[in-house]
Amino acid sequence: MSQPLYTIPGAPGPAPTPPPQAGDALAGARSVRDVLALSNVDSVFGELDRDLVGLAPVKQRIRDIAALLVVDKLRLNVGLAAHTPSLHMSFTGNPGTGKTTVALRMAQILHRLGYVRTGQLVAATRDDLVGQYIGHTAPKTREVLKRAMGGVLFIDEAYYLYRPENERDYGQEAIEILLQVMENQRDDLVVVLAGYAQRMRVFFESNPGMRSRVAHHLDFPDYGSEELLLIGDRMLEAMNYRLAEGAREAFAEYVALRRMQPHFANARSVRNALDRARLRQASRLFSEPERQLSRSDLTTLEPQDIRASRVFEGGVP
């Protein structure tokens, strides 16, 4: 909301003015270093490396794409005509491998380099795009597209848009509108399609138009046990918890067992496991109402909080 014409007591101060468009500042750049310095892309790379565990091939691909964009920018600055590169991407990988997080970072990188104007990420699923009766789909899809203009549209589980078993499915209509906008308004919008690798492959095979308009296919590998532990540590750190003596070993065992089980969702499973451990810690503390709790009592997860999980008895969590 914009500032009211009068002051409301206790209302927050004026909103900060939006940062100047990156695209204009880059016009004078002549070297890669100039572009990187002027656009602050380096800091996003730094965050990417620092915040995201593993994912080496994905990071490499993002660097490659960014390098292409930087060089394109330099070519443009010396007057070499360059097509706006097609930036639509597909992110494939198992659940919990960081597709959404990387998409957010991607939006930032594209914004800093001036390839999208606002840098916001609009996440959508089939429900947001496809209507329930005739004539409902087109306005719905256009609504989402309009909101995403100038930024990145992230379509999670994109293969649900196409339902081959129902030939009257409205998803096809949404795909057609998407394709049209992806082709005609490449300067205005970057579309990222995400989903499981196998089903995305089927989706692209049955929609060749979509496949040919998506230039970059990024595959997100599963995390190794070490990486999952590291992710767990980061999550706990962010929530102000720590693992007690022996709890880390218990957690390592937990992860090793959980990975063998079905429906393992990488980082998401780790987060859920930690949430359940917090739950057990809370009820453990709750059962001793007389005890004076110190700061370390409140922040420490004991081994028994983790070992109580059903995973250790061969059950699902």
Partner: protein, 153 residues
């Protein structure tokens, strides 16, 4: 044409200027979006000054960040109603304002015959005035040329 020197409808902002180009419209929209206005598009073929409520083309567009989305809708509206008046409206939702903050015409019919001022003499020497669009005789949809819009799929 004493009361209409340009021979054009003059309602809203910028109406005494030459028509805005698409790039200029885009800049105005971007200005509104920066101030968190919600844009909407309205059209009519009855531009009587007292006709405040034009037809809405789609819903008002809340939560937009970039003018490209609004332009998409404007292009679609122009395609459907090439011979109508189309105006952009910016709604300011700030508490205490809650009203239209900007309004300007972005599409006009090719011929704008203007308005007739009728004087009715009543008791004494008083006069009652009525304004009437010259084009208002024709039925709705045929007032400014019959070039039908492309049939809608």
């Amino acid at each position: 044409m004493m009361n209409n020197p340009t021979g054009r409808l003059t309602q809203g902002q910028f109406s005494f200027l030459p028509d805005l180009t698409d790039a200029e419209i885009k800049l105005q929209i971007a200005y509104g979006l920066r101030r968190d206005y919600a844009w909407s598009i309205e059209y009519t073929d009855d531009p009587h000054p007292r006709n405040t409520f034009w037809e809405m083309y789609g819903n008002p567009m809340f939560d937009l960040r970039d003018p490209a989305g609004v332009m998409l809708e404007l292009c679609a509206c122009r395609e459907s109603f090439p011979n109508h008046y189309i105006r952009m409206q910016a709604f300011d939702s700030t508490r205490g304002v809650e009203s239209i903050a900007m309004s300007f015409i972005v599409n006009r019919p090719r011929n704008e015959p203007g308005f007739d001022l009728q004087r009715q003499e009543t008791c004494g020497r008083s006069i009652r005035y009525t304004t009437r669009g010259y084009a208002a005789d024709a039925p709705e949809g045929e007032r400014y040329g019959t070039a039908d819009p492309a049939p809608r799929a």
